[in-house]
Symmetry: C2
Subunit: 384 residues, 2 copies
């Protein structure tokens, strides 16, 4: 039986979909070289035009000979593109604002004809240098749909490698994403890359939904670090994909390295891994409620669609006032104290005692175990 | 002009939808009494049967006379329901496992006929006590669709107040959510409550999509705190709804209190507010990249779909090596140093100097400002 159980008696997963790429996608990572080893397909670096250090970093990383391809993300100008190619990257990801907002406030009022002309010129230049090229619009979900499709079609026709859809402001919702990517899928023959900011908490869901609609590449970063509250986190995307495409993920990504990568980046930028981070947050696999703990002890797949062991981690069971007697009974057995030899009353009595104490203070598993053992001693002495 | 700009030239928001409740929904909050004041419609407490403290808490909170209605979440048994009603709650939210997994591992192999009979008995009891009653299935997305619709229809027919859809394991994706809630909307006339766990990072997106499909009530908790990595966070849901239903949210919820509520809860349970928390995370409104900072200074709505002031907060602009000269030029003006009187070369020179220093160390705004002022002094002395 599959650990996820998702494929069993689930009315939603049985219909196959030729366009969906949830079982066949690529990740474009915007952070840290450890990610090549992890299995990321691309590593996207800061624009070398941003500062002298950015340029030095880019040149140095290109020389490492990583398995992952090295990209950089630049403005859609010949100047930036030339510098990027000079640094030795495998590909250049160019971006230009297409929404009315950005054309007005960032591009000094350029119209779509001028933007398209500029895009084609830059794309042809990058291709002439032997590099991959991706063209992305910026703020795609507040751009005019016809403008968007026109420019994507134009760059598709000059042989761009990928087109990119970017929710630069984090406003998109999953159904909008599905509609736009599905529509785009019918208009271009290139790969489709997606980039989702997380301002409204939808970056992971939007990435997943884009894959369902036919996108091929997803932009992520470690812990989602990026402008404002960031983009789709690599770890959360892994969590999202595992129930859907477990075999693909396990064959491609070294999931046991995820925690080390996140810890490394968190330390480097001086942040804490969020308590509720998918997979590696300190409580991602904890169970407190009695009805949950009971079922988990019977079968982890009842409440865990992710197997902590797949990530080199394990479940944690707090003892709290929400603990139920089934959980305690299982613990009695785990301690080798044969729960079946206990009168049911005694199990309920020790459970009530544990709940009472857990109302007063946090109980470690050691404390719980000691209390269970003390009741067991009473039983043996016939005090029960 | 709307700050979000979402309604302008956006091909996705122009089609109205009679079933969608994104502009008219209710929140069921599972944490803390401050939330009544914030504007939450319901506060859902731990099952009073869980422990003596849980029972005492429930009775005490019921006596506070809050504006929000007090609910408790219990197993679907007469025993739990009776205790809940005795505590003085306004309503009881009962839940029972309907998936094959839970029926086998949590309910000892009960079939759907027995579960339905039990549900009806409990619902009728709670109604007879004059309380609201919600019936929810558990692990709804791994339950058989026909079983689900049958039991929802049965409880609808005996006059349940709300039916609940729960993604107990966090496996659902937005399109699954839309399909199930939309289908359910056609089968029952009651309100529909949704409850999403965040194991795969989709809780916020799923809640939003459920509202689009006709759900009426959303379960949240402060910072998403709940089993494993939690449920839909209250703050993130606010962030998600603001671009869609700004007027409704502002009229109903005291958003300025959000940060204080989150800080209070974080301190109480000894966690840190995640760095990337929507709205209140320390970098939620920070802008580093040059092209972002430039546009933000021209018009915040270019990269901010949420107005920090709506939440009693403000934007933060780091000075980093990614700073662009447009941002520096704006800063010159903000300091009252008339950027137009500067030769463009001088602006570019100070920008290059700032980028160079920011490669070496984190620069505060004070340091940046001091550097700008020193260049201004040079100009005045004719050293430029």
């Amino acid at each position: 039986m599959s650990i996820t159980g998702n494929s069993m008696s689930n009315p939603y997963s049985s219909v196959s979909d030729l366009l969906s790429n949830v079982r066949n996608f690529k990740i474009i990572e915007c952070n840290a070289t450890m990610l090549s080893e992890f299995g990321c397909d691309y590593i996207e670096l800061t624009n070398p035009a941003a500062s002298p250090q950015s340029r030095d970093d880019c040149e140095a990383i290109c020389k490492l000979g990583l398995k992952a391809k090295i990209l950089t993300h630049t403005r859609c100008t010949l100047e930036d593109a030339k510098l990027a190619c000079d640094c030795g990257v495998d590909g250049v990801d160019v971006v230009i604002g297409t929404s009315q907002f950005l054309r007005e406030h960032s591009l000094g009022g350029k119209d779509m004809v001028a933007i398209t002309k500029q895009a084609i010129e830059v794309i042809e230049y990058i291709k002439s240098r032997g590099c991959e090229v991706r063209f992305s619009s910026e703020d795609s979900f507040r751009s005019d749909l016809v403008d968007l499709l026109s420019i994507y079609r134009a760059v598709n026709n000059v042989g761009v490698g990928r087109v990119g859809v970017a929710d630069t402001v984090g406003c998109a919702s999953p159904r909008q994403v599905y509609d736009l990517v599905r529509t785009l899928r019918g208009c271009v023959s290139t790969d489709i890359e997606v980039h989702f900011h997380d301002d409204t908490g939808c970056a992971v869901a939007n990435s997943f939904t884009a894959l369902e609609a036919g996108a091929t590449h997803v932009d992520t970063s470690v812990l989602g670090i990026g402008e404002r509250n960031g983009i789709c986190p690599l770890g959360a995307l892994m969590a999202r994909m595992m129930p859907t495409s477990r075999d693909y993920i396990l064959s491609k990504y070294k999931l046991h390295q995820l925690k080390a990568i996140e810890d490394f980046v968190a330390e480097a930028v001086e942040i804490n891994v969020p308590f509720n981070n998918p997979i590696t947050g300190f409580c991602a696999f904890t169970h407190k409620a009695g009805i949950h703990a009971k079922a988990i002890l019977n079968s982890p797949s009842t409440y865990e669609i992710l197997k902590p062991e797949d990530f080199g981690l394990s479940s944690v069971h707090f003892t709290s006032r929400l603990t139920g007697w089934n959980a305690i009974k299982s613990r009695v057995d785990q301690l080798g104290l044969d729960a079946n030899s206990w009168p049911e009353d005694k199990i309920r009595e020790v459970t009530a005692k544990i709940k009472q104490i857990a109302d007063l203070k946090v109980m470690t598993l050691d404390e719980t175990d000691a209390l269970i053992r003390s009741f067991h001693l009473d039983l043996q002495k016939g005090h029960g």
